[in-house]
Amino acid sequence: MNKLHMKGRILQLINAQQDVGIWDWQVADALLAEYGLSGAYWRGNTRVTLTDLFSSGIIESVEETLDDQAYFGKGRVLFKFRLNDFGRQRMRDTALV
């Protein structure tokens, strides 16, 4: 079990989609499946990490929609994220790509 730390893996999942971007709930689903986790707590935890990355200017929003399915919670925003240049630089600095 030599897994990457989660924030690094999240960056890889986003980077894999290049400029198209990936929805935050897709990131959470993929991450939780890989780490054998489930439930609202870990989904929320992933969303907090994505918010950190967004506020820090490492990922940027491509598209947004309302969380009608209540994946993270009704009335919240779902984001489609992609890496920006700064984020890709950080991934190279950290040997994630």
Partner: protein
């Protein structure tokens, strides 16, 4: 799905992430201020109250042993915290990334631990808790400047004004005391003043380094790695070094510290500092290192209040004037527009242009 409700939800998202950032920083300030109580009280317990402090070496040793116990207690509570959050696995995964991630927290720990916390214990020991708290208040200038130069964190004019007002508050609070010291007895407390300066520089640099490490690491886990490093420095390097190369009674002092009163205060110091540091690290990604540090610098205010309540020595007029400036400066920063704060760094301009065009298309 109506557009207005999406934009409302979007505005709520931005407002809430910024509010969380400020709330974490504020929590940090309260707990940080509270830390000076047990951090000062432990000096009045055995074995520290019985030391003669005839030489500087004796006081330096006392501060070193206290900082070691402080670090171990903080790490204990951080492990409990990560256990509650279910993040022990993430801690091991992050720690293993020594070359790319943990190294930042290990470097940060040098500035935060043997420099800032040790410096604070020195300042408390030589001069007193209120002085130690207030002398470190300059640290956001260092942290904000480094974060700006290193990774282009946005420091708007309003943020700069807020930082300046908070610092003016710091000067108001401590200048009269320092002037009296300089005009009065002379060199009695110079190591205490050095300790205060070490705290200011150490915490400023640590925050900037933490901001870099947190780009790719979880805050709860990152702070635990940082204290793992500090415990290693003290327990494996510094205390054994003192034992091997000096004739100071380090083993005796460590052994004597294991009494209920001293350990009790040190556990209280550990729990307040552990969660102050958790909050500090959580605020950085959300509102930036400069703002997180400036709001957390309100700890100076809380420390003065807590120490006054505990010792029944009431603050003087200049403390109250400083208090007003602290609150005003914090308010100036807090009322910054959400659009500025949504992304705390000025990242690559061509991307931003493309993004602006895309946003315009979405609206």
């Amino acid at each position: 799905m109506s557009q207005p409700s999406l934009s409302q939800a979007r505005a709520r998202f931005t407002a809430s992430s910024i509010r969380w950032g400020f709330m974490w920083a504020m929590w940090c300030a309260v707990l940080w201020g509270a830390w000076y109580l047990p951090g000062s009280a432990v000096w009045f317990e055995a074995p520290y109250v019985d030391l003669s402090y005839d030489t500087n070496a004796e006081l330096l040793l006392a501060a070193a042993v206290l900082t070691t116990f402080n670090a171990v207690a903080v790490l204990f509570f951080l492990f409990v915290w990560n256990g509650v959050l279910g993040k022990w696995g993430e801690y091991l995964r992050t720690l293993r990334q020594m070359r790319y991630i943990s190294k930042w927290f290990f470097i940060g720990a040098i500035f935060g631990g043997p420099m800032a916390i040790f410096g604070s214990y020195l300042a408390i020991g030589y001069i007193g808790g209120a002085f130690a708290a207030i002398s470190a208040l300059m640290y956001p200038i260092i942290g904000a400047t480094l974060a700006r130069l290193w990774y282009q964190e946005k420091i708007t004019r309003r943020a700069a004004v807020g930082i300046f007002i908070i610092l003016a508050g710091g000067v108001t609070v401590y200048a009269p005391g320092i002037m009296a010291e300089i005009n009065g007895t002379g060199d009695a407390g110079w190591l205490g003043y050095l300790g205060g300066a070490m705290a200011a520089i150490g915490w400023g640099v640590e925050g900037a380094i933490a901001g870099r490490g947190l780009d790719v690491a979880d805050p709860d886990v990152g702070i635990t790695v940082r204290f793992t490093a500090e415990v290693l420095y003290w327990v494996v390097l510094i205390l054994p070094g003192i034992y091997l190369f000096t004739d100071q009674p380090v083993v005796e002092l460590v052994t004597a510290t294991f009494n209920w009163a001293a350990i009790g205060w040190l556990m209280l110091a550990g729990v307040t500092f552990a969660f102050c540091y958790v909050s500090w690290y959580k605020s950085f990604p959300l509102i930036g290192v400069g703002r997180g540090q400036a709001i957390a610098a309100l700890y100076g205010l809380f420390a003065v209040i807590f120490l006054a309540a505990f010792t029944l020595k009431f603050p003087e007029w200049n403390f109250l004037a400083g208090l007003v400036l602290f609150v005003a400066g914090g308010f100036v920063m807090f009322t910054e527009g959400n659009d500025v704060l949504e992304v705390v760094r000025a990242v690559s301009s061509d991307r931003e242009k493309a993004n602006a065009a895309a946003d315009a298309g979405n609206l």
